[in-house]
């Protein structure tokens, strides 16, 4: 397991902040899309692409790469932004999100954009695909060091197919599978505890023969340690329940389920007027929510 130095943690946090700014810019330009999930998962995606994954942005089809399946496709702005900042394509292209002819489809389309491992959007099928990849890799090479990562939402776990996939992953003891759940507690219609309570969640995965860890989804060092431990698990698939804050980084949007499916400019108005939402969000990010005093941002 690789330990992160203080400087590495700081660099990752700065990168995540840049990615969050891109997310705001692209959603604002698109005029539609999801805000809360992408901001909430920016730290996890940053750590994965800048610290964990074996991958090569210059050679997206490199055979030896790890695979990352985004099962909750609606948070693709964070994946697109991370891929762009990692060098898969230009950061400028992010502003084409959801526009006619763009490679950045409203929900990911594998054939359209380098770096995507699958198409997703309809919830619940990404875990099955990651299970299929893990099975195939084990057949190809029992000593393979590749890992199949699958990111899911928490509301998404209400899909029955997730548990079909969990059955198979547990039965097949897929220790090359690492699932990271975005446990932000919100979904479109409200808080998950109101829409469909899912606790005890860790115990559910344990019952399906997963190794389960719970971690602060914004703590780079804790996340890094959890992934390192998951990689070392023997004869079980792993799940990391990452406790995240919806809309993390923009305090006036945080924890509010109404930001699930709205872009800046179309979100709830009780804290920030619609026409100021993008500007305020960018200012919050550039000043780290006001902790940096600067006049030129």
């Amino acid at each position: 397991m690789q330990y992160l130095t203080s400087q590495e943690v700081k660099d990752l946090e700065l990168k995540a902040n840049e990615i969050r700014q891109s997310i705001i810019e692209m959603l604002s330009e698109a005029g539609s899309g999801h805000t809360a999930g992408p901001l909430g998962m920016a730290d996890v995606l940053t750590l994965l692409y800048f610290g964990i994954l074996k991958h090569d942005p210059q050679n997206p089809d490199w055979e030896e790469r790890d695979r990352l399946v985004l099962s909750n496709g609606h948070i693709c702005p964070v994946l697109y932004a991370t891929l762009a900042h990692a060098g898969y394509f230009s950061v400028d292209e992010l502003l084409t999100l959801r526009k006619f002819g763009s490679r950045l489809q409203g929900h990911p389309h594998r054939q359209s954009l380098p770096g995507l491992e699958t198409s997703s959007g309809p919830l619940g099928s990404g875990l099955s695909q990651a299970v299929g990849m893990a099975l195939a890799e084990r057949m190809n090479n029992p000593y393979s060091a590749k890992f199949m990562y699958c990111l899911t939402g928490d509301g998404e776990l209400q899909e029955g197919q997730i548990w079909e996939a969990a059955f198979l992953a547990g039965k097949e003891q897929l220790n090359n599978l690492i699932v990271i759940v975005d446990r932000n507690g919100i979904q479109i219609d409200g808080y998950t505890k109101d829409v469909m309570p899912m606790e005890p969640l860790a115990e559910k995965f344990e019952a399906f023969n997963f190794d389960v860890q719970e971690v602060d989804g914004h703590n780079m060092r804790a996340l890094n340690d959890a992934i390192g431990k998951a990689q070392a698990v023997y004869s079980q698939p792993s799940v990391i329940i990452a406790h995240t804050i919806a809309s993390k980084g923009v305090d006036v949007f945080e924890r509010d389920f109404r930001w699930h499916g709205n872009p800046p400019g179309k979100g709830p108005e009780d804290r920030v007027a619609k026409d100021k939402q993008a500007e305020v969000a960018l200012q919050k990010l550039r000043t780290l929510a006001g902790t940096i005093n600067t006049h030129d941002v």
Binding site: R67, V69, H109, R110, Q111, E117, T118, S119, S120, G121, P122, G124, S125, G126, S128, Q129, A130, V131, G132, M133, A134, L135, A136, E137, M139, N140, G160, Q161, E164, A165, F167, L168, K171, E172
Partner: protein, 328 residues
């Protein structure tokens, strides 16, 4: 006149029968021997879908998914992403019936190299009844971009189609039957995916000309009906379209041009299947009268396979009558 490469002396009393799924089982085993990337997945129906021969020969390349068809489709997609050639099998009612969206998003939209095997299609499933008789599967699969749709006529054709699909890079849906159906072709009958074959040529001395277009195991009934029509003084030919998508438009157009009217024959709802595909295409290039033989917007029921095929209007007599009527 029967095409020369068919079984000799075809008649209802003497024809040998075998389920198309048997041909799939043999073809899958052979495909597995030819290509180590071929893998098989099944949902607790391994014997019934004839995946068992492969599973016994290659246990490490077989995945028992359990009763979980949505997972089946997407696990197949994931395996294909790593270079495997997955054959995913269940009953057509459950796959592609239950898992259509997973097939659409993770297989068709990804243009993923997965072969979807829907066994127990048609009312000839028999005693299990309507819940298990998939008669809408061609329609739902034909509507998907990137998806190839094949309904083999008999066990030989099912075997050839399986081998051909294993070599073809892209999503394929096969439709197989449960019950023993007539063996019409031989191991030597030509088969190419995407290509229709004339299986019966009309007597050119007869004035009226009806063309029968069939798919799946009703090919035999279509052939018998063509023979009966000729005895009644109506020239009749049979074009067999094992591949429903992509439609062999060239063969279909010239077949339509050579006849006064057409009859389509399929063990499927008349909406959206072969009859739909043929009508859609010809309406734009060669409008012609078409009578569609199939299930007429109904559900099936329990019964013996042959009596159900008769009851729902797909027997030899029904096809013959449709042929007579359409050229009246």
């Amino acid at each position: 006149m029967f095409a020369e490469h068919l079984q000799p002396n075809l008649s209802p009393d003497t024809v040998e029968k075998s389920p198309t799924r048997n041909g799939y089982g043999d073809g899958l085993l052979e495909a597995g021997k030819r290509d180590e990337n071929v893998v098989a997945l099944c949902c607790d129906l391994t014997d019934s879908t004839r995946t068992n021969k492969f599973a016994e020969e290659f246990p490490k390349r077989f995945v028992q998914v359990g009763v979980a068809e949505q997972n089946l489709a997407s696990v197949g997609s994931g395996m294909a992403a790593l270079g495997k050639v997955p054959f995913i099998a269940s009953y057509a009612m459950f796959s592609p019936g239950r898992n259509w969206e997973q097939i659409r998003t993770t297989i068709a939209y990804n243009d993923s190299n997965v072969k979807i095997v829907g066994a127990h299609a048609g009312v000839s499933v028999g005693p299990d009844g309507a819940t298990h008789q998939a008669i809408e599967d061609i329609a739902i699969m034909r509507a998907l971009p990137n998806m190839m749709v094949i309904a083999p006529a008999d066990e030989h054709e099912a075997r050839k189609a399986t081998l051909a699909a294993a070599k073809y890079a892209g999503p394929v849906y096969f439709r197989l039957g449960r019950s023993a159906t007539p063996i019409v072709t031989t191991p030597d009958t030509p088969f190419e995916i995407g290509k229709a074959e004339v299986m019966f040529t009309r007597d050119e001395s007869l004035e009226k000309k009806v063309g029968i277009v069939s798919t799946g195991s009703l090919l035999f009934n279509a052939l018998m009906a063509a023979e009966a029509l000729q005895k009644k003084g109506i020239g009749a030919s049979v074009l067999h379209m094992a591949t429903i998508k992509p439609l062999d438009e060239e063969a279909l157009l010239s077949f339509a041009q050579e006849h006064d009217a057409l009859v389509t024959v399929e063990e499927h709802q008349v909406a959206g299947g072969l009859g739909g595909a043929v009508s859609e295409y010809l309406s734009g290039v060669h409008p012609i009268k078409i009578s569609r033989v199939g299930v007429q917007d109904q559900f099936g029921q329990s019964g013996e396979p042959d009596e159900l095929v008769e009851h729902y209007g797909m027997g030899i007599e029904s096809i013959t009558q449709a042929g007579e009527k359409v050229v009246q």
